[in-house]
Symmetry: C2
Subunit: 269 residues, 2 copies
Amino acid sequence: MKRTVFFISDGTGITAEAIGHSLLSQFDGIELKMITKPYINSIEKAQLIVEQINQAAELDGVRPLVFETIVNQEVSQSLKKSNGFFLNIFSTFLSSLATELNTKATGSVGKTHSISNNYVDRIDAINFALDNDDGSRTRFYDRADIILVGVSRSGKTPSCLYMAMQYGIRAANYPITDEDLEEGKLPAPLRDYKHKLFGLTIDVDRLVSIRNERRSNSKYASYAQCQFETKEVEALFRRENIPSVNSTYYSVEEIAARILASQNITRRF
Amino acid sequence: MKRTVFFISDGTGITAEAIGHSLLSQFDGIELKMITKPYINSIEKAQLIVEQINQAAELDGVRPLVFETIVNQEVSQSLKKSNGFFLNIFSTFLSSLATELNTKATGSVGKTHSISNNYVDRIDAINFALDNDDGSRTRFYDRADIILVGVSRSGKTPSCLYMAMQYGIRAANYPITDEDLEEGKLPAPLRDYKHKLFGLTIDVDRLVSIRNERRSNSKYASYAQCQFETKEVEALFRRENIPSVNSTYYSVEEIAARILASQNITRRF
């Protein structure tokens, strides 16, 4: 049986999605059709959504789940006239939080993700990640919060960009090459920054498949080459005492959170 | 009065933070000290957190707020022995959701952000954004979901990377230069893809300040130049019927959500 899920917000919908995904990940074997409706900030817009919820209920033969984070109570109430099953974090938690804080909610919308002092830190961090990607520049490692190291295509760039975007962390990355591994030593530009290094490892099969998408049937993408590099880089990390995480099993969110949890890095937001 | 806020999770903590930030953005004038504790997945780890919560309560003279998303009920219960004010989305919503779905929660941790089929789409999209950044490559615009256009430093690159990371959208971007604006025509590489174009505008003062950080006291960063470019690019967008958003007032999350809401783009996750 298919079930439609609505994420409805007067802002971007990101919080509603995060809550919904977290809760729904606790249930197996249900086919879900997910629909996000951001910027629902008027009764007129809410009424259009009511129709869509009711249509989905009729089509599915079961009422849709609605994860809703609308601040305005009138808009929120007019949505509730639909045939949906509602979970609303504002109406559930806001009044008890107001009591605890001994103050009133302001009722303003979408301040979480609005432009703030974070803006400059975030753009700086993204630019830092781009300018110091893949060993392209190494002279500003004194400014880096962390330097990710690993073989080519082990997931360094997306992890650096995510840390910049989510936490404002200045993350550089440096590829460990074939030649570095044959020498068995840390590349020279890294030696003064050992305390900032964090390793990414990857399973051979995954690496073979990723490299084949870029350069198929090359030596670079061969099983033997990938096996050599993954094995040697792990040995290097052990010898040099570089902490690491295997990117085969974790998303960039998880890689970033694990790095933060294990290193002494201060988030900028 | 300072108030400590804990975000505690058995996963990355991203959902707990999203919920907490959303709710707390509804209250003004409270000084908050925020602490995230990810991967709290055992009673031993929970007990260490209990001490930290109690210490903060004593130091602040008021109990901390605790936004908690721990699946395991034993771990969650042992945390509750602390002197904190708890908001827990699992204990609040999970049982009513289970009743509605007529099934039981699995109790497994952190599946939301785990590696899944999204992985390939996401990495593809990030690589697409990097390879097609700043007009560096234009021959794959047929593969792009969207092409952001705007003057240099109007926020195109971070917006493209965010859309790739969050939604798996393949977003290219192309800078509109001085010369393009003097000619008053769309640059040639964009003309076949008008339906994919989305504009970013920016206020003169903001642009002056951003450009000065990159190349201070240059013609590029001068008020006259920035004024010319911002005015002309807005005129170009109007003439060519290119929808746009002003990046001065919105975060990358909001820019991305607004583009998705206004364009007919299919998210990959």
